[in-house]
């Protein structure tokens, strides 16, 4: 290669042999620290259970699985609703606290408004053939995504294991999530 070398004194440059030895040394230490399995991993923490916030973790999880990633999604607090088979089909959209909503907060706060905005969103999802939450959960499970239900939240909300989709992992806590995050190439909190 005949690239221009920077203006450093040639005397200080290491010899080829020295460089080769150094490369070998580095490759060896790299082999020691890198796991043999080079499968990419993604870890998502899903904390929200509103209709709009249920989508991003599921879309990213299923897409990453399509890329061949090993994916775990740890569902905690209201994020657990996404894994609850019955509740996941009836997730609500809040009509207040979102300035992008077509109704002012003062109107959105009226009784029944959450139902109105949720219906509106559901109709749009249907009209656009956007996948439903149930569809995305089931597709993700088929593709090997591991959905984990935070045990502390299960106890807190007094859910039963049978209420979750088949294939959901229960009996896991923050330490499992932390381990997954430490091992992952991508970590997201949603």
């Amino acid at each position: 290669m005949s690239t221009d070398t920077p203006d450093s004194s040639a005397d200080e440059l290491p010899s080829r042999a020295e460089l080769a030895a150094r490369v070998e040394e580095l490759e060896q230490s790299l082999a020691e620290v890198s796991p043999e399995d080079d499968t990419k991993k993604m870890s998502i923490i899903a904390t929200k259970g509103t209709l709009d916030m249920a989508y991003p973790p599921l879309i990213l999880a299923s897409t990453a699985a399509a890329f061949g990633y090993e994916v775990t999604v740890f569902h905690t607090f209201w994020g657990l609703e996404i894994l609850h088979e019955e509740h996941s089909k009836n997730l609500k959209l809040s009509s207040v606290g979102n300035p992008n909503m077509p109704v002012p907060n003062v109107v959105g706060a009226l009784p029944g408004m959450d139902r109105v905005t949720t219906k509106m969103m559901e109709r749009r999802i249907d009209d656009n053939d956007t996948a439903t939450i149930e569809e995305l959960v089931e597709t993700s499970l088929e593709m090997g995504v591991e959905f984990q239900a935070c045990q502390m939240t299960i106890d807190l909300l007094e859910y039963d294991e049978d209420e979750f989709y088949d294939g959901v992992t229960t009996g896991v806590g923050a330490a499992t999530a932390l381990q997954d995050m430490a091992d992952a190439d991508i970590q997201l909190l949603v």
């Binding site: 299923s62 890329f67 053939d129 996948a131």
Partner: protein, 81 residues
């Protein structure tokens, strides 16, 4: 139109939107043998960029071509291994 790439299977995801075209393409390609070509028919304009990006970032697949026309986006993906 399909003869150009000698497709083994056709996946129809017309009407479906993100992330389904990519997710279903992955599932369909897993059912093919190495060397076989999958044709994907989609109406989601985002599928042009998404399937391109998916193929570039995924081991064992190769995007042979993409065509845009008559409101349908056609993608040709080969399973390489």
């Amino acid at each position: 139109m399909t003869s150009e790439f000698n497709t083994a299977e056709t996946l129809d995801v017309k009407g479906e939107s993100c992330p389904m075209p990519v997710v279903k393409t992955k599932s369909a390609i897993d059912d093919l043998d190495a060397g076989e070509v999958l044709e994907v028919l989609a109406t989601d304009p985002g599928s042009m960029s998404d399937i391109d990006g998916w193929a570039a970032g995924t081991e064992g697949v190769e995007l042979l071509g993409q065509k845009e026309g008559d409101d349908v986006y056609r993608h040709y993906v080969r399973r390489t291994e």
